[in-house]
């Protein structure tokens, strides 16, 4: 019965993703597909970030750097070793995971509020290293990545096919993130989020699990990076510096980090809002910033969390609210 409940929480996401996969039937514009693909690559990284932030309670402000490690790994593998997309995928995921561990061990040792700053600093440092890396990293101009992506002999480089492939990856990321949330590992991470001291008293190795969660989020980021690199065909350091990191954090905040719908909603909203409202990039960034502040101040569970709560109040809220109001004074009396 319990797994049934858990499965039901995954269902809305699967339905939405099925609808998204059906979009090419309505012959969308190339612009729509491009936007959707870059939103999709973000969503994959966001599912990793939701494990880190939503479940473990650790915020990374250098997450774009982990995406960048994946992207550069793919580009360098293709250039120097002639390695294609499918081989690059696990290697890049591993590279990002290792980088996450290298960043995570000292950062988490420092602990507390400082962790956020450490991840940001490491992200900045990576961008500087990539910029000063000479021919190896292509310096400020970055690297080209040319090479078809094929699947069972079919060329996936076509926009619609790449779109469908990204949707499949997003689905896999959502399912993986869901599986983590509903596993005993997810429970362990939530325990750390709620109270580290108590978690340790119950035999949980807090430090190791925090680094572990960071490494897991690195795997998602690395895969996202490979997809992004092969889609864009060109990558440069500025794509992975501090601002992209802030936007990733913003997306996961706006969507809500603890719900399985959150990353999907956040990624799609942030990508398509400017199109819908017909904003230029500058205006849309101001809107993002204001949204982020508003969400944090008014809806700490994110937009979707807020909507879910509002719906709950609208449908069954009244009796529950009253019950809660009744419970409070009796508690005080004791």
């Amino acid at each position: 019965m319990k797994t049934g409940n858990a499965l039901r929480s995954l269902l809305p996401v699967l339905v939405i993703l099925a609808l998204i996969a059906a979009v090419p039937l309505f012959s969308p514009s190339n612009r729509f597909l491009s936007l959707a693909i870059s939103a999709g690559t973000n969503v994959i990284a966001l599912y990793g970030l939701s494990v880190l932030f939503g479940q473990t309670g650790i915020l990374s402000m250098g997450h774009a750097a982990l995406v960048g490690v994946g992207a550069y790994a793919a580009a360098i593998l293709a250039r120097d070793f002639g390695v294609g997309f499918w081989t690059a995928l696990p290697v890049a995921a591993l590279a990002s995971a290792v980088f996450a561990m290298i960043v995570g061990i000292p950062s988490l040792r420092v602990g507390g509020h400082h962790f956020v700053i450490m991840t940001f600093a490491f992200g900045q440092l990576l961008a500087i290293v990539l910029t000063n890396g000479g021919d190896y990293t292509g310096a400020a101009t970055g690297l080209d990545i040319a090479g078809p992506v094929t699947l069972f002999g079919a060329d996936m480089s076509d926009l619609t096919r790449y779109y469908l492939m990204v949707v499949a990856f997003v689905t896999a990321a959502a399912v993986a993130s869901w599986a983590i949330i509903h596993s005993s590992y997810g429970r362990t991470l939530r325990a750390i989020r709620e109270n580290e001291k108590l978690a340790a008293s119950l035999g949980i190795n807090v430090g190791r699990h925090k680094i572990g969660a960071f490494v897991v989020s690195g795997v998602f980021a690395g895969i996202s990076g490979v997809l992004l690199a092969y889609f864009l065909g060109h990558i440069s350091p500025s794509q992975f510096s501090s601002f992209p990191s802030i936007y990733l954090a913003l997306m996961v905040m706006i969507g809500g980090a603890r719900l399985i719908e959150g990353p999907l909603a956040g990624g799609i909203l942030v990508a398509f809002l400017p199109e819908v409202l017909n904003l230029d990039p500058v205006q849309s960034r101001i809107v993002y910033g204001v949204c982020l502040i508003a969400v944090i101040m008014l809806l700490p569970d994110g937009l979707i969390g807020g909507i879910v709560r509002a719906l709950r109040v609208a449908f069954s809220g009244k009796p529950k609210q009253e019950a809660e109001r009744d419970a409070a004074p009796s508690e005080a009396r004791q």
Binding site: R109, H113, V116, I117, A121, F122, L125, V282, L292, I296
Partner: protein, 290 residues
Amino acid sequence: MDIFIQQFLNGLSIASVITLIAIGVTLIFGLTGIINFAHGEFLMIGGIVTWLAVSAGLGFPIAVVLAILAVGLMGYILERGLFRFTLERPTNGFIVSLGLIVVLQHVVVLFWNPNQKSIPRPLTTVWEVGGVRIASVRVMVILITIAVVALSFRMITASRYGRALRASVEDRDTAALMGIPVRRYITGVFVLGSALAGLGGALLIALFPITPFTGGTMVMKGFAVALIGGLGNIYGAVAAGLILGIVEGFSAGYGFSQWTDAYSFVLMILVLIVRPHGLFGGTSGPRMAS
């Protein structure tokens, strides 16, 4: 030797601006636990106000005062309107500051385009002393910073308010129990920190052109300095600011300028790994004990 002295002075003038940010960062974090990443944007706004005032034909000294007042006012409004509500959850305050970064930068871009902005140097004299070329504008920046930092020190060490402030940074809850109006001090520190950032921005644009995105790197340096010095520790911030500014100055002078921005991060990461509470010791911020 000549180039040594010259780089030392250059480094010192950079250190001045970084220190002005770091003092604000360190005080705000010490008292509220809020990591205000938007502090760099406060500095940038200070520079933009100076640029607007000078472009409108006002003199540099008036422009500096306007920058201090404008950014101080902005700090007041943001503290009253936003950060006040995040005191119980400092992480939210940090996220709010990220939103502010994006908003402030792009509001500036929206009204005044993203290009570099500069003002004519307020002082153009260059002294030649024994083969060393000393730009008077750099000396001005250093002297103003020394004066302001000395004044802040006096305020914080000698006055009754300063002692209450330091007690609040040390332990907010106990200070509140002792009847210190901590909330008002928080507002005060936000305004003071913002005003210092405004001054820093005005001094920065006197030295270099700025863009709406200057804040990002500067705030990281400010934070690096605050962390290296020990959060909440003003003396530490000044000492670490000097170290970093001089390292950067020399590195630029001896041909490693492309790595300039990396030093603060490397230094900060190293210091935090070896001494998590900074070189000179600091607080971990309020409510971090448990």
